[in-house]
């Protein structure tokens, strides 16, 4: 699992510390993070800025509110929102910091594709970032005074490219087309222009004479001999072989999330599914929020490299921090997991399986209320039944959750019982025809992952003719892998039923979406068909 031992060391020592939501750790490295730090100060937060090189803050405005650990590197971090403990390596040794929030706002790691293209770096072969710098410093224009200067760009010929790469290439071409005697070539697979304004920039470059070649399979080959660089390729349109000896060959780069993501990922068990990024690869995490409360990913850390979008990310971080503070004051999810310390044997199953990294441990496991999303995965995973979901204290008028519990305790009288994830299944159920709804006893659960074997068995014992568990599609679970846990458990249970000589088709697991009631409808019909044959022998009787 992803949790490293050091992420829990010293847990008990910090246990008594009070939570503090005023300080934010910003892992930065360029102007974006500086801008974020300044925005956070405006909003009344204090900032611990870790990064290199030393940033330039507007000093007088933020007297004492930004602490800058220049040339620092985050080595380890643990804790929960309100009380994160970070160890930062600096040239003068390790520094420990306690903060309420963590924002990973570092620039991407940029790795030139020399090896991928089988090219050695030399005077005539440079990577894109370096070339743009040279252009902006006016170093390339001098070369152009001779004859014609031929500049070739490689972009995503290995199949990997981002709009950010093309934006950079257009930046270069914008400078070059103003110079005389420069001919640019772009070799690519797919032109990435899916950002506002990029298509127009592409067209401008083309109209200014830049030649674009888009390849399917047979990418160009580069030959390097005695300081001569030669690109050998077959023109995809003319189906004819060509050779080009450019004066400069500019190679694109891989844009990767920053390395500082790694120690932060170590705090979030579900990051197994998101690595090397920090946010889960799911539309449920469209913005800067990660699976763990208080941890935020800006731009590259969440897989977005196109610079203009980062301005939005800065605002989203500010908004998310404030929202989280409001939630800590007024409750968050409907439910919260509670550990009975005397039952806990410290097996740490919950710590490992909590997708939100909400569980810490000292003498027993304990759930951090501000981080818990109430999904209930730990409840069904705990082998000692030491964890239960409790309702958060809410306003007295909100009694809908109370009704749920009464419903779930009722006997089922041969009906089908459906455990419905509140994100998907419950919505889909509400869209069913009333006739179909009447056939089913719905039990809304916070996540399909909360449905344990005992819940299903109890439903059968209580007289259900069949049990259906409806969770979200893989990749759409708000608790990242709750739906996978449910699918896995149901499959095991089906096997157990089959081994006991019972009809395993009385259980069914359905992945669906809130806007796909038809999937639920056909699953109910299927379950009806398969339980029809087994209603002769009373389900309750056959189970007991």
């Amino acid at each position: 699992m992803s949790t490293t031992p050091q992420s829990f060391s010293g847990e008990s020592a910090h246990k008594a510390d009070a939570k503090d939501f005023s300080a934010v750790l910003v892992l930065g490295g360029d102007a974006v993070a500086v801008q974020l730090a300044e925005r956070l100060c405006e909003e009344g937060f204090s900032v611990v800025y870790v990064g290199e090189p030393e940033p330039i803050f507007t000093p007088e405005n933020y007297d004492g509110k930004i602490e800058c650990i220049a040339n620092g590197v985050l080595k380890a971090i643990h804790g929960v929102t309100g009380a994160f403990y970070a160890s930062v390596q600096t040239p003068c040794g390790m520094v420990q910091k306690k903060v309420g929030f963590v924002v990973v706002a570092q620039p991407p790691m940029i790795v030139p594709k020399y090896e991928a293209y089988g090219v050695k770096p030399e005077n005539k072969v440079v990577c894109l970032s370096r070339f743009l710098e040279q252009l902006q410093d006016g170093q390339i224009g001098a070369l152009g005074e001779a004859d014609q200067l031929h500049i070739a760009f490689f972009a995503g010929l290995d199949g990997v490219a981002d709009t950010a790469t093309f934006a950079k290439i257009f930046d270069c071409i914008d400078v070059l087309i103003n110079q005389k005697n420069v001919q640019c070539y772009v070799f690519t697979r797919h032109l990435k222009v899916a950002e506002n304004g990029l298509e127009a920039r592409y067209r401008r470059a083309r109209e200014a004479g830049t030649l674009f070649f888009a390849f399917e399979q047979d990418a160009p080959v580069v030959e390097q001999t005695d300081g001569v660089v030669k690109i050998v390729f077959e023109d995809p349109h003319l189906s004819a072989g060509f050779e080009l000896a450019p004066d400069i060959l500019v190679l694109d780069e891989w844009l990767l999330p920053p390395d500082s993501v790694e120690p932060v990922c170590a705090m979030i068990p579900s990051s197994l599914r998101s690595r090397p990024y920090l946010t889960p690869p799911s539309p449920r995490f469209p913005s800067v929020e990660t699976a763990k409360a208080g941890v935020f990913a800006l731009g590259p850390a969440r897989g977005t490299f196109y610079a203009p979008k980062l301005r939005d990310d800065i605002e989203s971080v500010v908004g998310s921090l404030k929202k989280l503070i409001t939630l800590t004051q007024h409750g968050g999810s409907a439910f919260v997991a509670m550990v009975e310390p005397e039952k806990c044997t410290l097996c740490l199953t919950c710590v490992r399986t909590c997708p939100h990294g909400a569980i810490q441990f000292a003498t027993s496991a304990s759930v951090d209320e501000n981080s818990c999303q109430g999904c209930g995965i730990c409840v069904s995973e705990c082998p000692m039944s030491a964890i239960a979901l409790a309702e958060r204290k809410r306003s007295p008028s909100d009694n809908s959750k109370e009704q749920r519990r009464v419903e779930s305790a009722a006997l089922h009288n041969g009906k089908l019982v459906a455990f419905l994830c509140e994100h998907s299944g419950a919505n889909a159920y509400a869209e069913l025809s009333s006739a179909l709804r009447a056939l089913v006893k719905p039990i809304v659960v916070p996540c399909a992952g909360a449905v344990g074997e005992m819940h299903v068995v109890q439903a059968l014992l209580d007289g259900a003719s069949g049990v259906l568990v409806a969770g979200c599609f893989d990749g759409n679970c708000a608790s990242v892998y709750g739906t996978n846990r449910a699918a896995y458990r149901l499959a095991l249970l089906q096997q157990t039923l089959a081994e006991a000589g019972l009809n395993k088709d009385r259980l069914i697991y359905v992945p669906l979406a809130s806007n796909a009631p038809y999937i639920l409808a056909s699953a109910i019909e299927e379950l009806l068909r398969s339980t029809d044959s087994s209603t002769q022998d009373s389900p309750a009787a056959s189970m007991s």
């Binding site: 990435k192 899916a194 950002e195 599609f473 992945p511 806007n515 796909a516």
Partner: protein, 360 residues
Amino acid sequence: MCKATHVCQNCGACLVTEAIKGSQASPRIAHILSAGLARLRKEGSIFESLIVQEPVRIFPDSCNACGECVQACPVPGAIRMSPVGQTPYIVHDECARSRGDSCTACQDACPRAAINLSASETEFLVRSHAVVVATGFTPFDASEKPRFGYGRIPGVLTALELEDLLRNEQFELTPKERPIPRVAFIQCVGSRDAHIGRNYCSQVCCAYALRLARLLKAKKPDTEITVFYMDIQTFERNFERRLKEAGEELHLCRAIPSEVRASAEGGLEVLYHNSQGTNVWDNFDAVVLSIGMSPPAPVLGLDVLGRDEHGFFQPAADAGVFVAGACQGPKSIVESMRQARAVAERVIGYMKRGERGALD
């Protein structure tokens, strides 16, 4: 519609349904549906909007979504069950009453007297400190590209129409010339096309076409699908893996066809320039046009907003007016949600900073 095959395809459509429901459940959000802005005025720091709401003919509070009205309606499609929420809705242009007919079939059929066809327009005067414009985009009108035969040749449909048909399990193919049904997707219809003034990428079509094509393949595995494209745009993390998976199920062909025509056998023929450099006519049973996003329709009273060269709204110069979502430029669902968060934060920041006058 959900486009998941066996796993989520990251389209985000379910989140829209959920967001609408969440918004409807919020006591702090007032909804004036089927309504438009008639006038926007600013006095000091306060905006005054005149909102005109279409007649509310079906009362959600009385309706129990029994569907009797839909059954009773003599015009198919004039009254429909809503994909979100329980209340059916009347499609004004389809309804016989819009042509002067006095039909009251739905109203008469309703067992709960939830329908009042003679309801009239309502006007609201809304005073606010800020205005957010999020009017979305207009789908490209595929008949603007006559060479693809949309609206002229049966079997040519837009991706939106295909989505609708798939949702209702109504997409049926009868192969005309071969035993295997064949479907072509044509990308960039109304995008990246300077000839018709659409010198921009719509950003969502590659993703939605591949999702729809894979969903179609999952539902009807014997269908042969060709996707004609210019460049496949990056649409999410793990793009390369997704593209590879798609390439295993679909035939990806780098070419934008120049013509679609009806074949003698009743199918469709598509003319394109193949990788060997020759023009070929290929046979298909359906052609799906991946239409792009066009700028939003004009909004009355919103002359404070400038438009960019393509007609999308530009960020407002007027303090207090904010622009969000695809009315500002093409955006996917997930991108719109991401941006909405940031815009909300900007609005809150503006409200806090600004000199707020009293609303009444």
